[in-house]
């Protein structure tokens, strides 16, 4: 399979990159590793006229402590992030998530953290070859009028399949986005729109440059788990991340995020208040499970190798397991 024709830029400064992105807008895509992008280009699911590579932007590969945050350049490779001392010390959950991505030799060396966050949401009816889609007809995301997975859907229901997405959201990450008008900050949760066609809160002239994760003032307990059918080189059937802090033996802060369900990671907001002040218990873990099932029920559709019913139930199981694991693990 061949790549379609496009113009290729590899700017050496962010300013230059923004300039090019601004010039071509929506018809330009960012290449930040390419382990997903190249496949999508070959399958013609996207047909940009311009590809802008970030490979020459050294400043996007830095990982530094800045004030009360760890700042990870969006262009840092996944293995670079996973091997970074500060990441390992403060956010082992992120290391864990990265270890689940693809294959070490390809995705983790070639793929970048920003690229993983911006992974195009996936769908069995969308991530197919041009030939395949010709036979089945176009979907909402490829210029058609109907969603092939859910007949009456108003927007694309594709699945956010990034391993790092629920983790960065659970860690209350802040994303730095640079555009023509300058730089702005956006919470990781807000970064995901929930719409498969336009999954990220990014303007046509904007580029994701940094992920800032606040260093917690107290030791955090965290856990990431995913269900998949193969032990590597696979996307999650469902995944979940939980981050909590304690005051004495009671939960002080709690965040549970379930993903690979719909186009955006799902934060179980209610639990963030109802779990405060409680101690870990089987009852509490079950509440997390039930809350997750309720939260994903209206979101999951039949667009993955696993059925809707199964994924909904597994969202509950994964949510319970990360909650239990985070709340009973030793704190860091």
């Amino acid at each position: 399979m061949r790549l379609p024709a496009f113009d290729y830029y590899s700017p050496t400064s962010i300013e230059n990159a923004i300039q090019i992105k601004n010039e071509f807008g929506g018809s330009a895509v960012i290449l930040a590793g390419g382990t997903d992008l190249i496949v999508n280009l070959k399958n013609r699911v996207i047909a940009p006229s311009v590809v802008i590579s970030l490979k020459n932007l050294r400043e996007l590969r830095k990982i530094d402590l800045a004030g009360d945050s760890l700042v990870i350049g969006a262009g840092a490779s996944l293995s670079q992030v996973a091997c970074n001392e500060n990441v390992q010390r403060h956010f082992p959950i992120l290391v864990d998530a990265i270890k689940h991505i693809g294959a070490p030799s390809i995705q983790r060396h070639r793929g970048s953290i920003g690229g993983n966050l911006c992974l195009n949401p996936r769908c069995l009816f969308y991530n197919q070859s041009f030939f395949w889609r010709k036979g089945k007809g176009s979907c909402l995301r490829t210029g058609g009028k109907t969603c092939l997975a859910l007949e009456k859907a108003e927007s694309c229901q594709a699945i956010c399949s990034a391993d790092t997405a629920p983790v960065i959201v659970a860690l209350s990450g802040q994303l730095t986005i640079v555009g023509r008008a300058g730089s702005r900050s956006c919470s990781a949760q807000e970064f995901f729109t929930g719409k498969g066609e336009t999954p990220f809160n990014l303007g046509p002239d904007e580029i994701l440059t940094e992920i800032r994760i606040p260093i917690p003032w107290a030791p955090i307990s965290s856990s990431y788990k995913r269900l998949s059918y193969r032990s590597a080189i696979d996307f999650p059937v469902i995944n979940a991340a939980c981050v909590a802090t304690f005051e004495q033996e009671k939960i002080f802060r709690f965040r549970l995020v379930v993903s690979a369900a719909g186009p955006a990671p799902i934060t179980l907001k209610d639990l963030e208040s109802t779990f405060i002040g409680r101690e870990p218990s089987q009852e509490l873990f079950s509440e997390a499970e039930q809350a997750a099932v309720r939260a994903v029920e209206g979101i999951v559709v039949d667009n993955s190798i696993a059925s809707k019913q199964y994924r909904v139930k597994m969202a509950g199981v994964m949510a319970r397991r990360v909650t239990q694991s985070a709340l009973t693990a030793s704190r860091r």
């Binding site: 061949r2 009816f125 197919q128 036979g135 089945k136 193969r230 032990s231 080189i233 996307f235 190798i305």
Partner: protein, 777 residues
């Protein structure tokens, strides 16, 4: 087992093809580049079922860089089928397409971009027809008919009846009827399919492609292209896996040849992974209803089986595929009264062929039901198998004499090594152990299938070249041939060259399917080497003034037994033979003794194969009951391979068999569908296991020393590949106390069975049974 009489055979030597494959030196069809070569591309049907109204190729032909465009109009509707009575696949569709992927037109152009552009410029007007996508809908009255010649879409109907089944059921103390089903599976060879064709001005055509029999391909192409067989030359090339999926003849070979003839240039077609999945072959989806009756001890007295095989759009190896699951079963188990109805049914899906683990629902059904019966009787899975397992010297239900058989030893050794009975009786929660057994043929007749011949010539330095028609498509056939010749000639492996699988040079061979290569091709090379050695000894006996009977060939020397120091170097004998005008050329041939009157549909009785291999696999698993995921911890497998010519290669085949049959075949590998469109044509969503998923594997080689196989060898690994699925299924069943009847056992299915658990000795799901089809006519 090391045999002191052999110096190379029976030893674990590295395969001669390993280093080139590891280093990247080995070249596959996709790597071939000939001067002036064009890129070929095929336009395929995007519809499951449609009439072709018009095809307009004028724009494509006019595109700069396009050298040839062909459609069904160029082929006179030429059709392919393995048997004369199954020729139903037009090599390029003329009037109708029957599945998504059916070949409609093809182009050859200077590069891939131009070829792609040319495909886009071909306009085809279709009239869509309703399709059928499963066996039960396809045979329903009023269903759309895919081939007008086949009402109710029944492609092949096989009926076998032996003994008095009804009478025998009356004598049974337990009778069960259960239905088992399995989805389609695929091969996912590492090498996607590719063809290079080179038509030359003398009217001959060379062709390279992954294959299981260059001679069979050449014959089919000669017929279809109407070029004399002598001028159709299938060349040798490295092949990256077959697993039964390269045996057939595909339209792409014919199309690439036509493009080369038309453009008068070499043409290369390389399939995408998706094309490899949909437009070569797949495994059949299958539903099998099994009624079994046993006596009080658990001996099977009667069995009645009906199988529906979803064959996809065309026949392919239809009659064989329909019969083989039953035949493996009748080899494995003693059956005096048995009836089998097998129906291969057309659907608007990709074409199904033979696959290394063919018949999951059949074999798993037999072995699962046997465990259910054992539970009813209060006996264990090992005991009930030993009561019914095949022994040597017996004859199968359809009349094949079994001369060598180590099945009982396989069962006993796997059970002992895995501590089966103890683990079965003292179960840990959510841990399970299960056994599967099976048997395969070492070649079967294919209508006019011949034997194998080999030639051996010598070099003046004492080295030799073996010339054989056997093809190696990954299993190690090349090494097998060389190791045998080296043993017989007393020449080191490194000093033997091999020319194989080239129809211009090598003599004919039966093809590397149905597990015949060692038994057939190996024997032919052994005989050719023995013939050459006889000639060598004649000359040596004159030089040594010794009786040829007393001579030994070893380490490139010929000497009188017991006196290696006084040996004559091989090169001296070779030179001498040239001087005296008696150049040495060994020839040998082997044709297995099978009943050539046996026919798959019209006469399914008589000796099917001269030898059979037998195997047993035990799996130990742990199930996560909250997610349905399975972790396989240990697999113990034993196979009677006759004699292990190269134990390392044999063990590798066992391990591959566990990966494909058990880990992949039973846990994850299945195609998913949306109205005839396959949802997972590539490796990302078709979950082939990777090395990290694999369990620890214990291999046990059982050697029954077949009287006819070379050194007693039969075949390596297939009885493991075909028993691993049952072992996994029964182990998971044992872990949960559930008898599964839909395969593969994906986490989702296991989870569903746990949630909807039934009481009593029942299968997990109520499936529509496969019933005998009454014909109207």
């Amino acid at each position: 087992m090391a045999n002191p009489d052999y110096h190379l055979i029976g030893k674990s030597l590295p395969r001669i093809d390993s280093a080139p494959k590891v280093s990247g030196e080995a070249l596959f069809t996709g790597d071939l580049n000939l001067p002036r070569m064009l890129v070929g591309k095929i336009l395929r049907s995007p519809y499951t079922h449609a009439l072709i109204k018009t095809i307009d190729i004028s724009k494509a032909k006019a595109l700069k860089g396009v050298h040839a465009v062909i459609t069904g109009q160029d082929t006179a509707g030429e059709k392919w089928g393995v048997f004369k009575y199954t020729r139903d696949q037009q090599l390029l569709c003329v009037d109708k397409v029957r599945y998504v992927g059916d070949e409609v037109a093809a182009v050859a152009a200077v590069d891939e971009e131009t070829a792609d552009e040319a495909l886009d410029l071909i306009s085809v007007e279709y009239e869509e027809l309703p399709g059928v996508f499963d066996c039960f809908s396809a045979i329903a009255p009023g269903a759309p008919v895919i081939h007008d010649s086949h009402p109710r879409n029944i492609n092949v109907a096989v009926k076998i009846e032996v003994g008095d089944v009804e009478e025998a059921f009356k004598k049974c103390s337990i009778i069960r009827e259960d239905t088992f089903a399995a989805d389609e599976d695929s091969y996912f060879m590492m090498e996607p399919y590719a063809v290079v064709a080179n038509y030359r001005s003398d009217g001959s055509i060379e062709i390279w492609m992954p294959n299981a029999s260059p001679h069979t391909k050449a014959k089919a192409l000669s017929n279809a292209l109407r070029i004399p067989l002598t001028k159709v030359i299938a060349r040798k090339i490295t092949i990256g896996g077959a697993f039964g999926g390269r045996s057939d003849v595909f339209p792409a070979e014919f199309i690439t040849c036509l493009l080369s003839i038309k453009s008068k240039r070499p043409v290369k077609v390389v399939y995408t992974r998706e094309e490899n999945s949909i437009a070569t072959r797949m495994g059949h989806a299958m539903t099998t209803t099994i009624k079994t009756g046993v006596d009080k001890e658990g001996r099977v007295l009667a069995r009645d089986i009906v199988s529906y095989l979803d064959g996809g759009a065309y026949s392919s190896t239809g009659p064989i595929a329909t019969s083989v699951p039953f035949l493996c079963h009748e080899q494995t188990y003693r059956l005096e009264n048995v009836r089998f109805h097998g129906y291969r049914i057309y659907t608007n899906k990709p074409v199904r062929g033979m696959i290394r683990i063919h018949g999951r629902s059949f074999a798993c059904g037999i072995d699962t039901q046997l465990d259910m019966i054992a539970q009813e009787l209060g006996i264990d899975p090992i005991t009930i198998r030993l009561k019914n397992a095949r022994r040597p010297g017996e004859t199968t239900a359809t009349g094949s004499y079994v001369s060598s058989c180590g099945l009982v030893e396989c069962i006993e050794k796997t059970a002992a090594k895995s501590d089966f009975i103890n683990k079965f009786n003292n179960k840990k929660p959510f841990h399970g152990i299960g056994i599967g057994i099976n048997s395969v043929q070492t070649g079967f007749p294919l209508g006019i299938r011949g034997g194998s011949q080999a030639l051996i010539k010598f070099h003046e330095d004492g080295g030799a070249t073996v010339i054989s028609g056997v093809v190696d498509n990954g299993q190690g056939n090349d090494n097998m041939l060389v190791q045998i010749a080296a043993e017989e000639l007393g020449i080191p492996v490194e000093e033997i060259r091999l020319i194989s699988a080239d129809t211009e040079i090598t003599p004919t061979d039966a093809g590397s399917y149905s597990m015949i290569s060692t038994f057939g091709g190996g024997n032919a090379v052994k005989r050719a080497a023995a013939d050459a050695r006889r000639q060598i000894f004649e000359i040596a006996s004159e030089l040594l003034e010794a009786d040829p009977e007393d001579l030994v060939a070893k380490d490139k020397k010929i000497f009188v037994r017991g006196a290696p120091h006084a040996g004559i170097p091989m090169e001296k004998i070779i030179r001498k033979s040239l001087l005296i005008g008696r150049p040495i050329m060994g020839t040998g041939s082997f044709s297995p003794e099978v009943d050539q009157r046996r026919e798959w549909v019209s006469n399914p009785r008589g000796q099917l194969s001269q030898a059979f291999s037998f195997g047993a696999t035990v799996a130990e698993v742990e199930v996560d009951p909250e997610t349905g995921t399975v972790k396989a911890h240990n697999v113990t497998c034993a196979q009677d391979c006759g004699f292990a010519l190269n134990p390392m290669v044999v063990e590798g085949q066992f391990q591959g068999g566990v990966a494909m049959g058990g880990q992949g075949g039973m846990l994850t590998e299945a195609h998913h569908w949306s109205q005839g469109h396959v949802l997972n044509p590539t490796m990302l969503e078709y979950k082939i296991p990777i090395i990290k998923d694999m369990p620890n594997i214990e291999t046990i080689i059982v050697e029954s020393i077949d009287p006819v196989g070379p050194y007693g060898a039969k075949e390596a690994g297939m009885s493991i590949a075909m028993s691993a699925a049952q072992a996994y299924a029964n182990a998971i069943g044992n872990a949960l106390g559930i008898y599964f009847n839909r395969f593969p056992l994906t986490p989702e299915r296991i989870f569903d069975a746990i949630e909807n658990r039934k009481s009593g000795i029942e299968t997990a799901w109520d499936l529509e049974p496969a019933r005998v089809i009454e014909f109207d006519k």
